[in-house]
Symmetry: none
């Protein structure tokens, strides 16, 4: 994933681009660059590293250009370095491009162009792409916009691009397919970006470009055609996004802010959807397909990473209360094998960003086989929200920290509401149990707030474990996916090798790892498998492992066995993951901070994975 | 697999047999027995359990017999009990036999003999075999050795046998085909055994019987003919082996022996079940439930540990060729939640030992909900084989090494045969593809043997990685479960924290772990996701990870990127796990040995987990 921003108007472009790139750094941050007009020349400045390094590079320069494009990169082709950073010139240095996505047939194009005598400065697909456009313009003798259009009919892959030209400096050309692009409409000025964050302080009127649309933007206005050259009518959205929502709000890191935001984000997620007092639950998207859902012979959940863990929790709840068989699949695996999907099967796709490439492709595959696809997505208007038949948004607000926290709990909340809704309509849940779960769900934000109070204690424990090399996380039943999620958090931001397992599987191999150097986190809250997990704790202690146990408030047994215990409030076991994951998020956060990791932008990772 | 031992000479035979059987117990230990001459009568003593139980049974007896045969059993036909233990009498109790192997056409022979009026005391193929010999001797009026020879020309299968006769008590007749047999040459005395371990303390001169050879042994000497009655000249070997080494067949550890046994154990698993030339596939247990299987709306596979990985491979194959939705569950999780199982759903339970407690409990739960349960089990007569409605045995022989190797490949083989059989009956596989897969499956033992030839190279690579703390294993599609299995092997015996992942999931978290200290094993054989995994290798290399790649013979692309490559022969992608897991078994073995681990009995682990 990369971040794209562009500006054309009457203000100096450079500060707008830099500021926008910083907002977009969550999308990638291995190199950054800008292209501007300087004394009639198309000039590119770019640098490996964060946007800060780009700013340092250009320190002292004063830029007048009122048009420009900027890019922050997460490498897909060619390693992260200055040369491979965007923007890229075309061969004659009269065109510049920024690009988010992958041109899959760039190898063939490159060979053709090399045979014609072109050479390349970088290893990127993007430089091939813009040189291809230059070549078309020359060969066909057409306008730049026509050359872009023709080029787009020839390339295979995904892209969001913005192009500027030395010969036509009062114009930007933007296009997308598969990667997001939004145009912000000012007065005599226009913004283009990967999402609205670079735009929001200037205007709340935006147009989301659709796949295979090309926008030609001047200071006087813009026009959209599709790649078949048919004019398209833009639909203007009015954004209701507050700037403060995308800033840190006093926390040291976005991740910590987002962890502590969860009482609110979970409540936001339920707002207007449930009323426990009246025993009412209403999810718009679900209502429209309630017949399909209650009659489903099978539901397949597809997701990646943290969202996949949310899917595993949902599997247990759906099977328990809806009596529908559930299969949870890695999107990447699902799409490349030959899965059984029958006409009318239900697929639920989960993605925070709504842009996850593998999930998107899996959705298309499921649709092609006749499945009805629901989206559980955070980002409104994202590709997945548009590709699915129906869905329910998380309403958790933008998640900037690369390690997902509040999106996970919001996903659990939405999936719980869907399961309850289906169970009620199917009659597979008693009224009493339905109401009990609804009341319990409504109380979760308060319980999460309570769980967050252990922050100080967790910080102390973190200090003792910050230098270990390995961690195991074990849970059973509803807490098994929580073990996977806790381990993933630690991996992502502390770079400690942590692994989650269903506790009973430990005896089939992983127990060999246990010695006095191995910390083991048990999610051991009071539920139907409590006695069993107590035995598992004893097995680890008898092999001298160090045990950190997440327990229910008031537990007196486990504190006698475990080295450290962290309490969380009691709740129904099906809802426990919403609460028991909180200490694990904090544990990973504090350990990572103490190890000096860049918590919000951990190495090698990007916020959403929009490439395969 | 069974152990056999026999003696003829001037010493009391009984202590020699008991001592020999104890040495051979690694070949099987579900029941044991001896046949001796007592006051002119051919007397059999046999008992379910270990050789120790047989000793207890015969406590107090003093045996003078200077001729005798003994057997320790690993059940293949008929459950382990006193009745099915060897030796077996022929119908008139004047012949006794010990047998290691499987007589494939015993069913037809039994029917014929029953029509002639014979009846049988056991459920074994072996009793049919010896009664067949008795019948030939009677019908043709020939000598015992001639009757044996004629019988051997009529039976299909594998055998190592020793026969003694009440009417000819100074003679042993031994023969082999496919199962090992060695004759030890003393002074006026001879030993016969499955391997040299029962012999080595008495003599180091031995003759290895060849396939389709028959030895007639008296105290005065022995003669060898082949089944065509042509005399054979024996070649006398002088052994230079330590007792300990030959118990493990010359290998340093049982695990290594079992890894190298796989060409044979996979072939054993298919023996009598497939005939690729004729396009035939026949699994007894499956035939009885073919209607239930072909009509199944859903199959749930339950297992633990390595068996669970075999289940994941089966999921892909079943969904691909049988078009039945498959759900693979951890037995421990399945049994404690409230899973959806409907009347007539099919459950397949996989377990090497057939005693895994969680799997057994999950089977009972599934049965209580009306499921039809199949077992895929190695140990004949084990609890799981008895608790299931039907099943298919692995016939892989006893697995002694705690880290499962040959059982995994045998599980894959059996599951593949089940899937092919169901697909054929359902008509969801074309005849051409069915035959293609059958031919390919039949060639797997040879390809596994080829894969084993990389042992030396793998040992060299192991030396370079023996001191690392962590490993990642990545694969896609059919090779994803192989990645999990490779990681588990390393964990179990080297205590290195190794983790398997579907390669595409790496970008959703684990990639943060990658730096110059992190070795990553890619299972990257040529298949439908080859291009994708090549991209994943590039992503790891661009972050400086060390890449060990398992590739298809002749791959030229990946060796340019990876730090180390290990080649395996090409095969159909659905069968590739049978081959691609081999180098991973060897890698974990060599690393563990170099780290000084107790490979056959790693810390904290037990061979089969008979507690929760």
């Amino acid at each position: 994933m990369c971040g794209i921003v562009a500006y054309i108007g009457d203000k100096p472009a450079f500060p707008i681009l830099i500021n926008g790139l910083k907002r977009l750094e969550y999308r990638g941050y291995d190199s950054a660059g800008v292209a501007l007009m300087e004394e009639g020349n198309l000039q590119i400045y770019k640098k490996q590293g964060k946007v800060k390094q780009l700013e340092n590079l250009t320190n002292g320069h004063s830029f007048d250009s009122t048009v420009g494009i900027g890019h922050t990169r997460w490498a897909t082709h060619g390693e992260p370095n200055d040369r491979n950073a965007h923007p890229h010139y075309s061969s004659n240095h009269r065109l510049a491009i920024i690009h988010n996505g992958i041109i899959e047939n760039y190898g063939a194009l490159k060979t053709e162009l090399e045979e014609e005598g072109y050479s390349f400065e970088s290893d990127t697909d993007t430089e091939v792409f813009i040189t291809f456009i230059e070549d078309i313009q020359k060969t066909l003798g057409v306008s730049l916009e026509e050359a872009v259009r023709v080029a787009l009919t020839k390339v295979v892959g995904a892209y969001a691009i913005v192009i500027m030209s030395q010969d036509d400096p009062d114009k930007l050309i933007a296009a997308r397919k598969g990667s997001p692009l939004v145009i912000g409409l000012g007065k005599g000025e226009y913004y283009v970006a990967s999402d609205a964050t670079p735009i929001i302080e200037f205007t709340n009127e935006v147009v989301y470009l659709n796949d295979e649309e090309i926008a030609v933007i001047t200071r006087a206005g813009f026009e959209i055609v599709n790649t078949k050259d048919i004019p398209q009518k833009p639909y203007i959205h009015t954004l209701d996004l507050k700037l403060e929502a995308i800033e840190k709000g006093g926390y040291e890191h976005f991740m910590l802010k987002e962890i502590f935001e969860q009482p609110r984000s979970i409540a936001d997620c339920m707002r207007g959807r449930i009323n426990a007092t009246e025993g009412r639950l209403m999810l718009g998207g679900i209502r429209n397909y309630s017949g399909a859902l209650t009659n489903a012979q099978r539901i397949v959940i597809i997701a990646c990473g943290t969202s996949w863990h949310a899917g595993l929790v949902a599997e247990y709840l759906f099977e328990d209360i809806c009596r529908i068989p559930i299969e949870v699949e890695y999107a990447s695996e699902f799409r490349y094998r030959n899965p059984v999907i029958r006409e009318g099967d239900i697929v639920i796709a989960i993605s925070q960003s709504g842009e996850t490439a593998d999930t998107l492709a899996a959705i298309e595959l499921a649709k092609s086989k006749g499945a009805i696809v629901f989206g559980v997505v955070n980002t409104v208007g994202s590709s997945i929200s548009r590709a699915t038949h129906e869905g329910a948004y998380l309403h958790a607000g933008p998640e900037i920290g690369v390690a997902s926290t509040k999106a996970f709990t919001a996903q659990l909340t939405v999936l719980t509401m869907i399961a309850l809704s289906v169970a009620q309509q199917k009659g597979t849940i008693s009224d009493v149990k339905f109401r009990e779960l609804l009341v319990e769900l409504e109380s979760i934000p308060k319980k999460v707030a309570k769980a967050l109070e252990s922050d100080g204690k967790i910080k102390e424990i973190s200090a003792l474990f910050k230098d270990v090399h390995n961690f195991l996380y074990l849970g059973r039943g509803y807490n098994f996916p929580v073990a996977l999620e806790g381990a993933l958090k630690l991996k992502e931001i502390s770079y400690i090798h942590a692994e989650g397992y269903p506790a009973a599987e430990m005896k089939h191999g992983p127990i060999a790892l246990i010695d006095e150097n191995m910390p083991v986190v048990f999610i051991a809250t009071r539920d139907s498998s409590y006695d069993k997990i107590v035995s598992n704790i004893q097995e680890v202690k008898s092999r001298k492992g160090k045990v950190i146990a997440i327990v229910t408030e008031g537990d007196v047994l486990i504190p006698k066995m475990a080295d450290f215990t962290i309490e969380v409030p009691a709740t129904h076991e099906a809802l426990m993951p919403l609460v028991s994951v909180i200490p694990l998020q904090l544990l990973s956060y504090h350990i990572a901070v103490m190890r000096g990791s860049n918590v919000d932008q951990p190495r090698n990772l990007a916020k959403s994975v929009t490439v395969e």
